[in-house]
Point group: C2
Chain length 229, copies 2
């Protein structure tokens, strides 16, 4: 049976494009026909995840389920959802489908454990931070982590929203200022725990500082394609 | 009714990603929710278009129809197919669906006519050149055009295949050599008439030389989204 990756995307659209680009990048292909078939549902007109978590705004779950149903009926077999905050609803989504559904938070934390990284800072939306998606996983694995303080977190969120509004420069300098502060207090590595962050930081030359959750998710999906059924 | 763009993609996968990136770029949005909903079927394991046209190899039409059916049943309403060569089968595809289906060759030629451009060179796959997709349209519009000679065309095709095989450097220098030659014989502008070419030439600072068929197609699709039904 053909192995089609389904992307439950649109959160946001640029992160979805980044994910597709990474699938191409990490696939060992020499011609079009060796690349992986992908179906992407990128419906950005979905309620904001952080707002829903923080202030009980409209839940995005129903919209996500619509996208999931489309992927299902289109023949996708392995689902990836390149939005960390959306993983707040992961269990409900996973329970509603028979498709293989990768969990980007778990995959990223596994990578951190496997590489023996400690003192890792979590760069993510306020929704992801407040719902402790990364923290509870890292605690389970006994990894030391740093969560930005409230003021730093506000700056990170402002950076993500600036990027979504099209202001790439502002987004970059805002997040860069927090990263510098965190480096000064001994942070060893940074989790890019919001899928807009690798796009905001694309211009950075040195990627050694970062664990890119989107990259880890994509590598896992590509591996799945090459596994024997 | 919600206006969803459907991308009949995968030809090749990088061109599909470039198309999605351009949809984001040309949409006047300030937050995720203002972006356009898009469904993308990127099945690169489809018979090669140029091979089919030139040597009567397996037709990609059936595979394209499969993608089209998925887009149809997923709720897409306006189809774009970011592969110039695939437009060889445009009439058959269009006849098989009730969805609005934009024609990238026509749209690009309209742009050339509207801007009063003459002496335009066609950079495209050998399949697109041999099937005269651009030439017949430009002749109808009485636009002077230049077709690369056989040796130059071989170099262009080699560049496109180099890109598809992952060799970005080789792809760039090959096509750049032909572009320099054509500039020397008085070519005014170049049609990027293969959707890999804007990706190969991304590093070029000066885009004034080019008419990017993918960009024109995307602008048209975004306009469609903002038209009143």
């Amino acid at each position: 049976m053909r192995k089609i990756i389904g992307i439950l995307g649109g959160m946001g659209p640029a992160a979805t494009v980044d994910t597709m680009e990474k699938i191409i990048q990490y696939t060992p292909a020499n011609r079009d026909q060796e690349h992986i078939p992908v179906i992407t549902v990128s419906f950005p007109d979905i309620p904001d995840r952080t707002e829903s978590i923080l202030s009980g705004g409209v839940s995005p779950l129903n919209n996500m389920l619509v996208s999931l149903r489309i992927l299902e009926s289109s023949g996708a077999r392995c689902i990836i959802m390149p939005c960390n905050t959306a993983h707040y609803w992961y269990d409900e989504l996973k329970a509603s489908t028979k498709m293989y559904f990768l969990n980007m938070i778990e995959i990223t934390c596994n990578k951190i454990v496997m590489e023996g990284i400690n003192n890792v800072a979590i760069l993510a939306t306020t929704g992801t931070i407040k719902s402790r998606l990364y923290q509870s996983q890292l605690e389970k694995e006994k990894v030391n982590f740093v969560v930005p303080d409230d003021i730093q977190q506000e700056v990170i969120m402002e950076s993500i929203l600036a990027y979504k509004s099209g202001d790439e420069e502002k987004a970059y300098w805002l997040i860069e200022s927090v990263i510098s502060q965190l480096k000064n207090i001994g942070v060893e590595k940074f989790i890019m725990g919001c899928s807009e962050i690798p796009v905001i930081l694309k211009r950075e030359g040195n990627t050694d500082w970062y664990i890119d959750a989107t990259e880890e998710l994509v590598r896992c999906a590509v591996d799945w394609c090459y596994l024997v059924d």
